[in-house]
């Protein structure tokens, strides 16, 4: 996902000098940058997995078990209760957790470099 670019297309050499891997020599912390991006990507994937599992699973659940619609809780049909009130809190918690972890990853990136 984040490896550096290397030009391997045949014929590219003929057109001019081989392109240098960009920026590697300009930015000394390139490896640390890559690792931060990878950490953030991992966090994003974790949050997205929760979202996708829930959004893929719930329709499947209701499609496979239509009888759930006759189950009532507090006088409300179960699918209505889950869809109207049960899922949105999960999004709020997931968003909150993601922001906390992403900010922690950024602090870990900035803080060791600071003078004590």
């Amino acid at each position: 996902m984040t490896e550096r670019v290397t030009v391997t297309v045949r014929g590219a050499r003929r057109r001019g000098p081989r392109r240098r891997p960009p920026d590697e020599h300009l930015e000394p912390g390139a490896a640390r940058v890559r690792s931060l991006i990878r950490t953030q990507a991992r966090l994003a994937l974790a949050t997205l997995t929760i979202v996708f599992l829930l959004l893929a699973g719930l329709p499947m659940l209701f499609a496979c078990a239509p009888g759930l619609s006759h189950v009532r809780l507090l006088g409300v049909r179960l699918p209505w209760l889950i869809l109207c009130g049960g899922v949105q809190p999960v999004w709020v918690v997931a968003a909150h957790r993601h922001v906390r972890l992403a900010e922690r990853a950024e602090r870990a990136f900035t803080e060791p470099a600071r003078p004590e």
Binding site: A12, L36, A44, P59, S69, W91, A95
Partner: protein, 558 residues
């Protein structure tokens, strides 16, 4: 009722004017100063996001289609979670204002900028169309004015609000309007709930019938389907015969009602349905995937995908994060937006359910967008109903105005930047941005604003979402790949949208995909973008790694 409308318009516009300041220079026209706090900016973003379709249309969709529509609010809030995790902070740190700017900066190519601008314009048009249409229906239902007056009202309101002031003028207004809209659903919602519980405990899941004698005026000529023979009083033309207010016996089956006809139904009569809607009896309305549509599970996945991924491609939404101080503040803003939308979306299902009991004739006229506006009077006749109607109508006009303003500013900012920019270019672009949806509003045959708005989401999800996700996270994206992906995903999605707007509904798989194309077009967009990028490996922009670092590193790094 005219006074209600006038009062609502007045309140909404006063809020707009009071929040306005004069711009200092031309560049301020579409660049709000970056000093907005996360809570304030989140209010503005939510205010812009809760459009007429969400405010009025969601309740209408629940009334007409029942449980199958409960997925939309969930997908909408989840779309903001996706936006938060993948895009907000990096996009804010890129320093690009519009999506076109981002594409041009990330890939260093004018062609990519043009392709993205084209997509932004199409999305803006698809997004504005339901706003106009919703305003037209709203105004005509509550005041009896012709539908086009609503369109004119929105165009005039948007013109007054953005042409002099630009983006800065509407940040404060959007934020105030979010709270207005939230109050306009929470207060009636709680009152209705209390009254409904006290009055009766009827289950909204039974087949809709008229609780009391009701007169329905046909707004347009249309077919209505009766399930059982009925005797009603008719004034106007039904089945080609003119009636003068005498009782008429109509057999079960479809009858043609000409526009302007007034039909009076006795209490207890079953509600006939417009031939655009399937009659959902009893449990079918309340049970997911039994709404009589073709391939309901696939359609649900498709609409969820488009709302989930399309949110990040809405041009008016992503520009708002530019008003945050930095990536971290942008991320916190997005988090608050999720919370605000979750609170707002508790209510449409309640209104849709109540609509089934108190305003069932909307199933006959097809103007389900009017549900929320008609409920106050049905549930609480008298002064309380009047006051609640004013509150709801004010919220509705705030919804039309704020979303339309946001979209017009974002789209015109995007295209005028393409052609050199400047204040006069911006104003010209704004006029073009509004003209096309106005034309489409004349031609369209889809009555529900929420059904129209998913078309905009589908285009955004298939074109700009791949560009943003891959642009932010994948360093091997090339300009050619970006253009290929935007065209391969956005092209078919746009074609499907136009077919839906102009051609109406079709049965089977093809009909499902025309209505909800995302299931096919999103993978198409991603595949084309990745595939062509890999084929044109040699043209990866030289500044890619610098760009990646800038997007992902915190601003306060040493």
């Amino acid at each position: 009722m005219i006074t209600v409308v006038a009062l609502a318009l007045l309140i909404a516009s006063l809020l707009g004017v009071s929040a306005r300041t004069r711009p200092a220079h031309a560049c301020d026209l579409y660049a709000a100063s970056r000093e907005v706090s996360p809570w304030w900016n989140a209010s503005a973003i939510s205010g812009e996001y809760i459009s007429a379709a969400a405010f009025l249309g969601m309740a209408g969709l629940v009334l007409a289609y029942g449980a199958d529509m409960l997925w939309l609010p969930i997908g909408a809030a989840a779309g903001h979670v996706v936006l938060l995790t993948l895009v907000t902070a990096p996009l804010r740190r890129s320093g690009a204002y519009t999506l076109s700017d981002f594409a041009a900066w990330r890939l260093g190519s004018r062609t990519v900028r043009h392709a993205v601008s084209a997509c932004v314009v199409v999305i803006g048009w698809f997004y504005l169309l339901p706003q106009f249409q919703g305003a037209g229906v709203t105004l005509s239902v509550i005041s009896g004015l012709p539908v086009w007056t609503g369109w004119v009202a929105v165009v005039v309101a948007v013109g007054v609000m953005i042409l002099p002031g630009g983006m800065r003028s509407i940040t404060g207004m959007q934020a105030v309007q979010f709270w207005l809209k939230l109050i306009a659903v929470v207060v009636p919602g709680l009152i209705f709930l209390a009254v409904w519980r006290l009055q009766n405990d009827a289950d909204a899941a039974r087949a809709p019938y008229f609780h009391r004698p009701t007169t329905v005026t046909a707004g347009t000529s249309a077919g209505m389907r009766l399930t059982a023979p009925a005797v009603l009083t008719v004034r106007g033309v039904v089945d080609g015969r003119h009636h003068n207010g005498e009782p008429v016996r109509l057999d079960a089956g479809t009858h043609r009602v000409r526009a302007g006809a007034r039909l009076r139904f006795p209490a207890g009569a079953a509600v006939p349905h417009t031939d655009q809607l399937t009659l959902l009896r009893g449990d079918r309305w309340a049970t997911p995937f039994s709404g009589g549509r073709d391939h309901p599970l696939a359609a649900t996945y498709s609409v969820l995908l488009s709302v989930l991924l399309g949110t990040m491609g809405l041009p008016h939404l992503v520009v708002r994060f530019y008003s945050n101080a930095g990536g971290r503040a942008a991320r916190r803003t997005a988090k608050i937006v999720v919370l605000m939308l979750a609170a707002f979306y508790l209510f449409p299902a309640l209104f849709g359910t109540l609509g089934r009991l108190y305003t069932p004739e909307l199933l006959m006229t097809g103007e389900t967008d009017a549900t929320l506006l008609m409920l106050p009077h049905r549930i609480l006749p008298g002064l309380a109903g009047d006051l609640l109607t004013i509150l709801v109508a004010t919220g509705a006009f705030a919804a039309f105005a704020s979303t339309s303003c946001g979209v017009v500013v974002a789209v015109s900012g995007s295209i005028s930047g393409n052609f050199g920019g400047g204040a006069s270019g911006f104003r010209l672009s704004a006029v073009i941005t509004m003209a096309v949806p106005l034309l489409l509003a004349v031609l369209t045959c889809v009555p529900q604003s929420m059904a129209l708005i998913t078309l905009a989401f589908a285009v955004a999800a298939s074109s700009l979402c791949p560009l943003l996700v891959l642009g932010v996270w994948w360093s091997r994206l090339t300009p050619a790949g970006a253009v290929a992906g935007v065209l391969a995903g956005g092209g078919p999605a746009t074609a499907a949208g136009l077919a839906r707007i102009l051609g109406g509904q079709r049965p089977g798989w093809l009909g499902m995909l025309i209505e909800q194309p995302a299931l096919v077009t999103v993978p198409l967009g991603f595949a084309a973008m990745i595939g062509v990028s890999l084929l044109t490996r040699a043209t990866v922009p030289a500044h890619t790694h610098r760009a990646m670092a800038r997007m992902h590193l915190p601003e306060d790094r040493p």
